[in-house]
Structures are given as C-alpha cells and as structure tokens.
C-alpha cells in the first residue's frame, strides 16, 4: 500500500499542508502578527507524515517545541493551530500556550511542550496505561537530537524496555540543537544506538524519505502493538529555518549557508513530488491550490473571534 500512488499522493498532501501552513506562519512571524516563538518544521515534513501514516487514530503522539508538523500529520485542526500561534481563543489550547503547546486529544495529540525531552517519559506513561488496561494502543514520542542529551530520555528508555511498553521513540536528528551542531555536543554520530544499553533496538533512516520513515515506523508500531516493547528510530534530516523564527539562521550568528545548500536538493516534498510526476500524476498543482484555499479558510476561521 505504501507504494501505491494514492498513498503517496495522500502523504504528499499532508507534507504540502505542513509546508504551506508553516510558510504562512513564517510570514506572520515576519510581519509581527505572530509574536510567540515559533520553531518551524520546514524541511522535516517527511518524518511526521511517515510516522503518523503508521498510526491509528487512537494511538497517541507526544511532541516538543517543533511540533506543528506532528500536530497536522496526526490530524489536528488547522484552524486550531493558527489560532494557537496567534494566541487566540480559537487556538487548540485556547491561546494559553502558543506554538510550543499544541493539543488535540480527539485525534490522539495529548500534548507538546518545549522542555525538549519533557514528553518522552509522559509518552512512556501513556504506553504504560495502555498496557495496564490491556489495550493495544501505541504511544509515540517525537523529540530532537538535542533532547537526547537530557537524562530522562535514557531513564524512560530503560523503563519502557523493562515494562515492554508499547512506545515508539522518534528522534528527529536535524543536526542542530538550537545553534549548536551535533559535533559540538557529541563525540560520535550514533544516536540510533542510544537505546542499545537499555535493550531498546535502534535504527537510522533517511528522514527526508517519507516511504523509508513509514516502513521503519510501521515495523516499530507493530512491535509495540504486539507486546514486544519500544523501538528507537533516528530520522536524519535538516531544518531549513533557524532554531526559532522565520529566518534561515543567517541573522543570529549561525552560518549554515553551505550546509543548507547541500540539503535543499534533498527536499523531502520535492522528492516525493518528482516521484509522483514520474508516475504520471498530473494534478499536483490543483491539489496544491486546494491546500492553499484550505489554509486561507482555516486562517480566516482562526481570526473570527
């Protein structure tokens, strides 16, 4: 099914929705309409789109400060996202949290928070509850490479392995924690192995390839649902924009122009679009227009009150 053109179009639409919605948010950050700190996901869309395709509606997703993509991929309301970044009552958290605090329990998003690994133990706890009640629901924790440097991720991995919890750990390695490259923070480039010591199997995938992400996530979700315990997946990617805000980091003392030039051709959305056009899909432009209209409508709805 993953190879079917229909499935790929569906993923392309999800990724396009994330990309265009975030570009709209970036414009509002630049214009000053959005004041709360926004950590944009642009460039990483294949990860949220790939992982969430492997989930059921009742499976839960937990995230961090860069979670617009997780929220939209799991089915969170677009108007709720716009309302939240604009700190309006129409926001998914009633405008009390902003961009870093997204919630949509009706589609399994129980919370995203900016204490970077803060929700990893919480996701393990949700998984604990599912197992405790004998349900086959799965919890997924999304976190970045910087979060891997907080101790409770490692505590949580041990607990999840020990109790064989239905937990999937998605480490989105975009190479930077805020302004610091991984090589300034670690000796070895081996995050996917971080679970070995805790008996959590790990895998590294190309995070800009939605099909590869989906395959890995599906296997991990099956393992979790089957009672075999947690899995760690390191998704290699690159965020195009700065740590926070709409810029490309060029204005805050971090020079990443060369790296960005290397990663732009690996654009996960472009790659998928090219593949679809290669298969003769001719209506991507129309679909893109429809998504643009959806975004306009949602933004209007978010601003109504």
């Amino acid at each position: 099914m993953t190879n079917s053109t229909g499935w790929l179009i569906n993923r392309w639409e999800t990724m396009t929705l994330i990309r265009r919605a975030e570009e709209r948010i970036a414009e509002m950050v630049e214009s000053g309409e959005v004041g709360c700190p926004c950590h944009l996901y642009i460039g990483q869309e294949a990860i949220a789109a790939g992982v969430c395709a492997a989930l059921r509606l009742d499976d839960t997703v937990w995230g961090g400060h860069r979670s617009h993509g997780h929220y939209l991929a799991k089915g969170g309301s677009l108007a709720g996202l716009f309302g939240e970044v604009l700190l309006k009552a129409t926001g998914c958290a009633a405008g009390r949290g902003g961009s870093m605090h997204l919630t949509a329990p009706e589609v399994g998003i129980l919370g995203t928070v900016p204490i970077v690994a803060g929700t990893v133990p919480l996701a393990a706890g949700a998984a604990f509850a599912y197992k405790f009640r004998g349900e086959d629901t799965v919890a997924v924790a999304f976190f970045g490479d910087g979060a891997m440097e907080e101790g409770h991720v490692h505590e949580a991995m041990n607990l999840a392995a020990l109790y064989r919890l239905p937990l999937v750990l998605i480490c989105e390695n975009n190479l930077y924690a805020s302004h610091m490259h991984w090589s300034e923070r670690r000796v070895a480039d081996n995050l996917y192995r971080a679970g070995e010591f805790h008996s959590v199997p790990g895998e590294r995938v190309d995070g800009n390839d939605v099909e590869a992400v989906y395959q890995a996530a599906r296997a991990a979700v099956e393992r979790a649902r089957g009672g075999e315990g947690p899995t760690l997946i390191e998704c290699r990617t690159f965020r195009w924009r700065g740590h926070v805000g709409a810029s490309f980091d060029l204005d805050v003392g971090v020079e990443r122009r060369g790296e960005l030039a290397e990663w732009l051709p690996l654009d996960p959305l472009q790659r998928l679009g090219d593949k679809l056009m290669g298969r003769g899909v001719a209506d991507l432009e129309q679909r893109e227009r429809a998504i643009g209209e959806r975004i306009d409508g949602a933004l209007e709805m978010a601003c109504e009150r």
């Binding site: 133990p121 393990a124 706890g125 509850a129 409770h152």
Partner: protein, 332 residues
Amino acid sequence: MRTLTYAQAIREAHAQLLALDPRVLVMGQGLWSPWYAGSSLEGLDAEFGCARVVDTPVSENAMTGMAIGAALAGLRPIVFHPRMDFMLLAMDPIVNQAANWSYLFGGGGGVPLVIRAVINRGGEQGAQHSQALHAMFMHVPGLKVVMPATPFDAKGLLMAAIEDAGPVLYIDDRWLYGESGEVPLEPFTVAIGEAAVRRRGSDVTLIGVSWMAAECSRAAALLEYAGIDAEVIDLRTLKPWDKELVAASVSRTGRAVVADGGWRTAGASADIAAEVTERCFHDLVAPVARVTLADAPAPARRVEELAYYPGAEQIASAARSLLERKAKRAAA
C-alpha cells in the same frame, strides 16, 4: 471508633483506593522493600500484585513523568518518593509538566496525580536525607500541597487527593508514623484547603503544619501550665492554606506564632506570617513570631540534630515572648 497509627492510616487509604478503583496504582521506589516506607505500604504488593504496586528503578525523573503520562491516559497513579530529597530529580515533571498542564492546554485535561513524598528527618542521616522542601512546591501555581499531621487526616487527605482533578503533593513525615488516633474504617475524605482547630484558646494562635502542628498542641499544653490559653490550628493543607480560618483566629487572639519544619528564608512560615500581617494588622498586638529551622543544612550528629529541630518548647517560648511584650507595654 478504631485507633490506628499514622502509618497504618496511610496504608489503609492505599488499600481501599486500590480495592475501590481499578485505575489506581502505586509506583515509586522501595514498594517491594520491607523498610523504605515503614509500615505505611506494608504488604500492598502481595495483596494487590506487583502490576499495581510497582517498585521502579532509580529513575525519579522519568518515573514521575511516566506517572503523569499514565494519569493523562486515564489512570490514577500515586507516585511514591520515599525520601523527599530524591524528588528534586523530578522537578521538571512536577513543576513544568504536571503543575502547568491544565492551564497550558486551555483549562481542560488536568493531571489527576498524587505525588507522595516522605520527610525523613533525624536518625543521623545528614543533610541529603533530611530535607523538608514543601515550601518549594507551595510556591508553584497549579500544585496542591497537603501535609497531614494526624492518622485521621493521613487517610482522609490521601483519599481527597486521589479524587482531585489536578496534581496533589502529599507530604508525610516519618516522625509522625507512630502517632495514633481514631480513624473511621469506611472510606472518607478531608477537604483539601481546610485547616482544623485542635484547641480553642484566647491569648495566642499557634499555627503549624505536619509534625509542627503536633508540636503546637504539645506547646499549648506547656503554655496552659503558665496560665496562657493558646489556640492551635493545624493547617493540614499548605497550598491552598486556610487563610480565612487563620485570620479569624488571629484577629480574635491578637497574637500568632507560625511553626514550620522548613527553613526560615522564603519558607512556608514567611508566607503565612506575611498573609496574617496583611489581613490582621489592626488586630495584632505583637508582631507575628516564627519558629523554623535555621537557614542551615541538617546536621548528622544526634546532639546537633537535637539543637537543629525546634519543637514544643521553642513554640511555647515564642508565645510567651509575645505575651510578655504586651505586659511590658502595659507596664511602661
């Protein structure tokens, strides 16, 4: 009515909660050990099984976070930290996550979690096994803090804590475990936020919480010999504490001694004294007195412990000073 010890009352509350509600579980360190929790959790693992009474690895932070996640997913966990000092490793889940969750996410979806912490003072355990850190937590919006001093309240407040929609920190003190008192057999709750008057009096109000509430009652007995009629208030809940009851009492007596088993600077006593002064300024005939720990780490040597921890005598002495002030003024 039956008499139980404080520790037995805690155990009975756990047992009844586990029996009544399949969503309840207890998790933390030392639950399968015969001595970590004294007799306050004795045999619960055998009675309810290790899946509901979970002795966890030494991971205070992630274990507490896991309990929050489990609570958000519909369980009613009681997290156990047998030494409050170690709970500092769980500051992020308690303060950043549990306390803020309901507000941050639009007012719905609080974290129905009980976090139980034990103060382990004395016993020559030194500064990292002795700390009473309740003031740090009463500082945080979104957290409730209860500190029972009697067997009755030990049971009733635990049962109230589990019914609460948000996170409640339940702090007990090992020094109280042997105290005995009447406790109903059937399940019951003690309202969070309501203090109790332990003794009616007209000369001075003694305000204490947890162990120091028990010391206030002993101080009142000492004062009675000296002809001083003290009113004793056991706060029972430290956040939100019962400002109305305390202010009404102090307005009547004109004098207040706040007794707290924590440190002086920015301690619980500082907040209580400030609030009492604001509310009762025109009725006070003397400044509010405080009996607290000195701003110093807990010593290990027994002889130094005796000097470090104030009790009934210091409270009674503080109360006498307040009455002497009045006498001096009258004489002058």
